[in-house]
Amino acid sequence: MVKKQPQGLVEDPNKIEGIPSKELFIDMLVKDLSLRDAIGDLVDNSVDAANKHAGGKNDLSKFSVHITFDKSHFSISDNAGGIEEEIARTSAFKLGKPKNFKSGEHTIGQFGIGMKRAFFKLGEYIVVESVALNSDFTLTIPIKEWRERKDETDWDFKFDKTPNLKKHLLQKTKLKITVTQLKQDAKSQFVDSQFLTDLQNEIALEHLFAINKGLKIYINSEKPLEAPNITLISDRDFKPAYWSHSFPSGLKVEIVTGISEDKGDEGGWYIFCNDRLILGPDTTEVTGWKGGKTKGGKEGKELPKYHDQYFRFRGYVFFNADDSSKLPWTTSKTGIDKDSPEYSYTKTQMIFMAKQVKPLMDEMKKERERDNPKSERLLNLKVDAASEKSVKEVSVILQNKKSLPTAYVYPKNLFNPAPKGNVDTNISFSKPTHRVKKVMNYFKVDNPHDAGSEAFDYFYKNEMGKW
């Protein structure tokens, strides 16, 4: 209820206050946010910045992100361009992204609240130091003081002093965020070694592609995070297939498929949204490894159930969008939105491209049948040799994507299964014991197996004409 006031005292007698309270932001925004995701949001920003300043090249080796924390502080710094004072002044620290804000390059951050809500989650006293290409500044945010300001409509922050409008070389730029007066949650987790290990592993996996492109991320360690290499065999004989598509929404997708090393835990599909791994290596129905009940060699509508025969398969899907809300990921940005039309479209193509690689793996398996001596397994030998010398990183392969074929290429002609005539088929059946014994007596053999075999040969000789 709005209390009735004498009209003369109010600016606009029809106005009802709708301004939100700062508590709403501080408490609601961090309500379902884990500490790990808060840090993840900050890392996302650093990775975005590195990608943006790499100038479209797949090389991030000049960039690094350092994270340190203990019971009294948290800090993250990178050398990826900083924040320009103008952006800081007008948009970066606003709670929520202005409606007409254009990030220009693709970013992971979606709602423009990642950095701020990370602040609220981590602690009460934040210092931001930025050295950008055209300016530098320092900004202190004492959250407690800000929240308790008398004027509830005063939401602004202040630079420590007027920013410098000075030019800096890219390699001298930085953004450093230091948080002290940590929240209780942060304080206790930051001294937990399990938290550190989990965080290292999760960030390494999420930013697999950036790390593959050379980005170094340090988390409380002198050693950068290591991530599995994402690779494909690529040479004159084995050519990965490449496909790209632009959706009407502005979302773009690229897929590259092929084979790589025979490793069960690395085979499958990898799906990236703006370079962040959100699914994979996936070998489930979500990416088509659904299997089927069909008999007779065909294996379902999509892909067969994943098993050891397909350990070499690799498929990499890269969704990219300037406007990250167009990406087909779940709202938590941690999984693919299976039901989105864009994913449904892409999945059809993924299955289609996996089916191009599948015959190679099927044929390799056929060659490995026991009657076929190793030296005759020509396709397997070729793949083994290529595994030694032609495994390349996907980021390198993609530098030359225009030269990649639309359908997977492998040396089909090498396929050399055991000749059909040499293959035996097992037959088993049951017949009344007294009859089997008679047949055993007839052929003078001492077991039913031989009796069956003799009977077959007898039939074949007499009924099929030639032996």
Binding site: H245, F247, P248, G292, K293, T294, K295, G296, G297, K298, E299, G300, K301, E302, P341, E342, S344, Y345, T346, T348, Q349, I351, F352, M353, K355, Q356, K358, P359, T406, A407, Y408, K420, I427, S428, F429
Partner: protein, 341 residues
């Protein structure tokens, strides 16, 4: 224990001597000819399964002038390859060896400028693999393309002791076989109340294929701008029997721009079926004398004032059914003559 000698499909059936199939092919040829309203027929590529006889390839090349043709041949042992290559009737036919689920994804769809006429004439029953092929084809062909599939719709024999060791009833056994073939989730609900005899198979299998076509088109449209969206219009729902019961379902996919033409171009073809109603090719067994007598009064115009036609027709000593069946297909009716080529 069951040992069947492995025979290739083309050794089991001489494709050119199957009259119903022959009629079907000619109907397709006439239908495909209408595509010239959309585009020069030379801008079409035919993709089929020519076997060693290449009957469809022969017909479509000769009568339509399509000169980009691709045959997919499942058998890929050395001897079959040699034989298939030997039997290729024209130089403009390419052959890809391997099953369709392997070959279709590797075709250079992106590179091809042509629209496609794809007829996947399977010998077998509908399977999940075939549903996958539907996705592959409809995701890739250009608008204005025609896509048909033919499958075996024989009823499963519940007396088969090997396939039905637990002696399920016909109803349960046939449903079990169908769900093993296409996956339970593809079977329409109403099918669970039916005994899947030929009549019911006709409608259930058509529905499964139709659903697969529509869902594939939906998927294709989900990724492209509205101007490039395609629609699917069924043209064939056709059943025939030579040695076994076969069903052909399929149609054309087209964009908004092509819609007006597509809606009119197949108008006067009597065998076109756009919905659940199935066109049955029934081949009456007639003597040459009877054929000629019938031809003379066809096309039969049933009018009161067509007294001569009426009386001529009634004078031919055949059942009304035979007459009707012949009238349905007489323009496509094959005559086989023994000859020394």
């Amino acid at each position: 224990m069951k040992v069947t000698p492995e025979k290739k499909n083309f050794e089991r059936i001489n494709y050119s001597l199957r009259p119903a199939k022959h009629i079907e092919r000619k109907m397709f040829s006439e239908t495909f000819g209408k595509l010239s309203i959309l585009d020069n027929i030379k801008n079409y590529r035919y993709i089929g399964m020519g076997s060693a006889y290449f009957s469809d390839f022969n017909l479509f090349h000769k009568t339509l002038g399509i000169n980009k043709l691709l045959s997919i041949e499942g058998e890929d042992d050395k001897k079959t390859k040699e034989r298939i290559r030997f039997n290729k009737p024209f130089a403009c036919i390419d052959v890809e060896f391997g099953w369709t689920d392997k070959v279709l994804p590797t075709l250079p769809w992106k590179k091809w400028q042509e629209k496609s006429i794809v007829w996947l004439d399977y010998v077998d029953k509908l399977t999940e693999g075939i549903l996958g092929d539907i996705d592959t084809v409809l995701f890739n062909v250009k608008a204005g393309s025609v896509f048909l599939i033919s499958v075996n719709i024989e009823e499963d024999d519940e007396r088969d002791k090997i396939k039905n060791p637990t002696k399920l009833s016909a109803k349960k056994f046939r449903l079990k076989m169908l769900s093993e073939n296409v996956g339970k989730e593809s079977i329409p609900q109403r099918a669970f109340d039916l005994v899947l005899n030929i009549e019911n198979n006709k409608s259930v299998i058509r529905e499964i294929i139709d659903n697969a076509f529509r869902s594939a088109v939906k998927k294709r449209n989900s990724g492209v701008a509205e101007a490039d969206h395609v629609e699917y219009k069924q043209l064939f729902n056709l059943h025939y029997r030579d040695s076994c019961d076969m069903l052909t379902v399929g149609g054309i996919i087209f964009t908004k721009n092509q819609k007006e033409k597509v809606n009119e171009m197949f108008d006067h073809l009597d065998f076109i079926r756009q919905g659940k109603d199935c066109f049955d090719i029934v081949v009456p067994k007639l003597t040459y004398r009877e054929l000629h007598a019938l031809d003379k009064v066809l096309p039969y115009i049933k009018r009161k004032d067509n007294k001569k036609g009426n009386s001529d027709l009634s004078r031919i000593p055949l059942s009304a059914n035979d007459k009707k069946n012949y009238a349905n297909i007489y323009r496509y009716f094959p005559t086989f003559v023994e000859t020394n080529l």
